[in-house]
């Protein structure tokens, strides 16, 4: 535990997870079935825990059960999405100072090729005399996704929970989607991806987008595997400034882990907007304008890599 914030987040997450597994029990499958027959004897060693209700309770260690991984979902389930959800993201530009933690957490979690990023933190300046600002860009998970329209083999698709995913087992690598995406969000595996053995051995899933495959397109996936576990996308939990807020439009709430907002109020109060509204792509990512900033734009410059500097000097 590095700080209070993250431990608090962990608890929140565990709470969600418990709720999820409990829901799982009531349906066909009981994930704890395998333990049912075992007789557990108290060991005498106890640990203190925070219950979901916020009370501190003491419990014998022997009664603790590991939460099993959720069962893998099938490809058709992955293509359908999580029922009843409509995921949205809000990116608060007034809080971003180009720390890049979102990027590195994402790159690490998805084992992206060096140099390629699913999240790009762009240095924006809309016109000559307007203020510069930092703009993290993810996949917009458009409701009218141009990439999905052009895909000839249904390798990239829109799910009922709003997420646009890629099935790398299906992708033929024509790169039409890359040409079609106005947000330049898609990256291509030009070569055999560099993967750790562990990742390379795991079965492919469109929800984890891993392991990546040579000759196919990939992009930000809104981390649906995390959502299934009731956890936040990697970028959201990695950002130290709470720039990213993730949530469900149906529940009208978004959270960055530390703070939770009513989505509609947040967008109304802070005049949220979406990128390139005129193209009619209807993104699921909303931006809050860079006003009343927590950091001056210049403070982000020190986080720039040499490559970025080259671009700006152009």
């Amino acid at each position: 535990m590095e700080n209070n914030d993250s431990s608090r987040r962990d608890f929140l997450v565990t709470g969600l997870l418990t709720a999820l597994t409990a829901a799982g029990c009531s349906s066909k499958k009981n994930p704890f079935d395998s333990y049912a027959g075992d007789e557990v004897k108290a060991s005498g060693e106890t640990v203190k825990l925070l219950s979901v209700d916020g009370e501190i309770i003491e419990m014998d260690k022997a009664f603790l059960k590991p939460v099993p991984d959720l069962p893998r979902v099938s490809n058709s389930e992955e293509r359908k999405g999580i029922e009843g959800k409509k995921f949205v993201m809000v990116i608060d530009l007034s809080r971003c100072k180009n720390v890049g933690a979102c990027k590195s957490a994402c790159n690490h979690a998805h084992q992206l090729n060096p140099g390629q990023n699913w999240i790009k933190v762009l240095s924006m300046e809309d016109a000559e005399h307007t203020a510069p600002y930092w703009q993290p860009t993810t996949c917009m998970h458009c409701d009218e996704p141009p990439c999905v329209k052009v895909c000839p083999v249904d390798a990239t698709f829109k799910r009922q929970d709003g997420i646009v995913l890629i099935d790398s087992d299906r992708c033929i690598g024509c790169r039409f989607c890359m040409a079609a995406c106005p947000y330049s969000t898609r990256v291509f595996n030009w070569q055999e991806p560099l993967l750790t053995q562990e990742v390379a051995a795991q079965p492919y899933s469109c929800e984890t987008s891993m392991p990546q495959k040579k000759g196919t397109v990939s992009k930000c996936d809104f981390c649906p595997d995390m959502a299934r576990k009731g956890e936040l996308p990697h970028c959201v939990s990695a950002c130290p400034n709470g720039v990213f807020m993730f949530g469900d439009l149906n529940e009208d709430s978004v959270t960055n882990g530390a703070e939770t907002f009513r989505f509609s109020e947040l967008i109304k109060d802070k005049a949220g907007y979406r990128l390139m509204e005129d193209l009619g792509t209807k993104p699921s990512v909303y931006y809050l304008p860079p006003v009343n900033r927590n950091f001056p734009y210049e403070s982000g410059l020190e986080n720039e890599t040499n490559e970025d500097k080259h671009t700006h000097s152009k």
Partner: protein, 414 residues
């Protein structure tokens, strides 16, 4: 012989480059996330464009009763068939996962312009093949009759392909009917293949591609490069096969007029394509257009406009310019200019995305094809020429029967 050997060598180098690409991935190209389509795609557009000439010379001229073009039909049709074959091959080369090509049929989604392209290119290929084959049947009969003049193996091939053709009144009737029917069908299909190819670009939002002019712009350019290609082929076949009697100066004179008309038409669509957005200079278009007019791509851009259109027009407007040699030069200009034009349509747009190019390696900011890309592109072009060369060695490049009957008709008129 040297010609064929050189072509085969270029093809082999291309094949080796493709082997490397299969082994290491598309990383051997210099395409990257921004310029995700490079000369493979521009080469594809070029081949589709040049293949349209088959429909122009064979179908449009035939239906319009343009008799003088008869000796040129087979040249046009073999260019069409070989170009469309290599257009399909180069698309497979561009795919990151060529082994999944069957997915297009297993999981095809009809709303994708790529599926439309697959359908119309397939259709166009078969119609073109038939338009090459059916008029060849009477010629095969003649070839079979002159056994002593051809080798044994060739004779066997001719008999395999055409021994059922006896030239009876019934067969002639069916053949004539089918050819007319195919000529009618191929025109909309030809318009479709290049319009759909233009839609691969025009259905996106990008500056330089987001244009309602694109279909007509592509078609007019395609007819121009196809006619230029036929002029070049006419000249070469005439010289090396001594066909002065059949491909006469009159043919060059008339093709010259056709090329001028097509070049003017293409120039007109270019004016629409570039000057109208340039008048407005919308922000996303501005970077793209200034790069073309005065920036990084200016020399290529003006080369394509001047050498590919304006200069050929100037040469061919004069009667002296419509003689075989100047025609050949003008035809070469049109073809070379057209190749670079396709490159300019594909690549500069990709270097001007809506959001700034940041957070990517330095190499992502530029594009110049790698040797593998050049080798494969050149190999595909050599492949087209090789198919045409072999075809001309095996079959008469001037339709014998049709030319004879056309001459008979002419004599009777006199």
């Amino acid at each position: 012989m040297i010609w064929t050997a050189a072509l085969i060598l270029i093809c082999l180098i291309g094949a080796y480059a493709y082997y490397r690409q299969l082994k290491y991935g598309l990383v051997v190209t210099n395409m990257r996330d921004y310029v995700s389509w490079g000369i493979y795609i521009s080469n594809f557009v070029f081949f589709v464009a040049i293949s349209l000439v088959g429909s122009l010379i064979t179908a449009i001229f035939r239906l319009a009763n343009v008799k003088w073009a008869t000796p040129l039909t087979r040249i046009a049709e073999i260019i069409a068939v070989s170009a469309i074959v290599f257009a399909s091959l180069i698309i497979i080369v561009d795919m990151g996962r060529p082994e999944r090509m069957l997915y297009l049929f297993l999981h095809g989604r009809i709303q994708s312009p790529i599926m439309w392209d697959v359908i119309v290119i397939g259709t166009y290929f078969f119609i073109s093949l038939l338009l090459l084959y059916l008029p060849l049947l009477p010629d095969l009969k003649i070839l079979i009759q002159f056994k002593e003049k051809t080798s044994k193996a060739l004779n066997k091939l001719y008999r395999f392909q055409g021994s059922f053709w006896k030239g009876t009144a019934d067969q002639l009737k069916i053949s004539k009917k089918s050819i007319t029917l195919l000529c009618i069908v191929i025109i909309p299909v030809a318009f479709c293949i290049h319009t759909v190819t233009s839609w691969l670009f025009a259905t996106t939002y990008r500056p330089g591609w987001d244009s309602t002019n694109f279909g007509a712009y592509f078609i007019s350019g395609a007819f121009l490069v196809g006619a230029g290609g036929v002029v070049v082929a006419m000249y070469i076949f005439r010289r090396f096969y001594r066909l002065e009697k059949y491909i006469t100066e009159k043919h060059f004179e008339k093709m010259g007029r056709v090329v001028v008309m097509l070049a003017l038409l293409y120039l007109y669509f270019n004016v629409n394509e570039y000057l109208v957005p340039a008048f407005k200079m919308k922000k996303p278009e501005e970077a793209h257009l200034t790069q073309l007019f005065t920036g990084e791509f200016a020399s290529l851009f003006w080369f394509a406009i001047l050498i590919g259109m304006i200069l050929p027009i100037l040469i061919l407007l004069f009667k002296k310019g419509r003689r075989p040699l100047p025609m050949f030069i003008a035809g070469m200009m049109v073809v070379v200019g057209a190749w670079f034009k396709r490159y300019l349509i594909v690549t500069p747009t990709l270097l001007h995305p809506f959001l700034p190019m940041q957070d990517v390696p330095e190499s992502y900011h530029h594009y110049f094809p790698s040797w593998e890309e050049w080798a494969i592109a050149m190999g595909s072009m050599a492949g087209v020429l090789l198919v045409i060369t072999f075809f001309a060695r095996i079959y008469p490049i001037i339709p014998i029967q049709e030319t004879i009957s056309e001459q008979h008709e002419k004599d009777e008129e006199k």
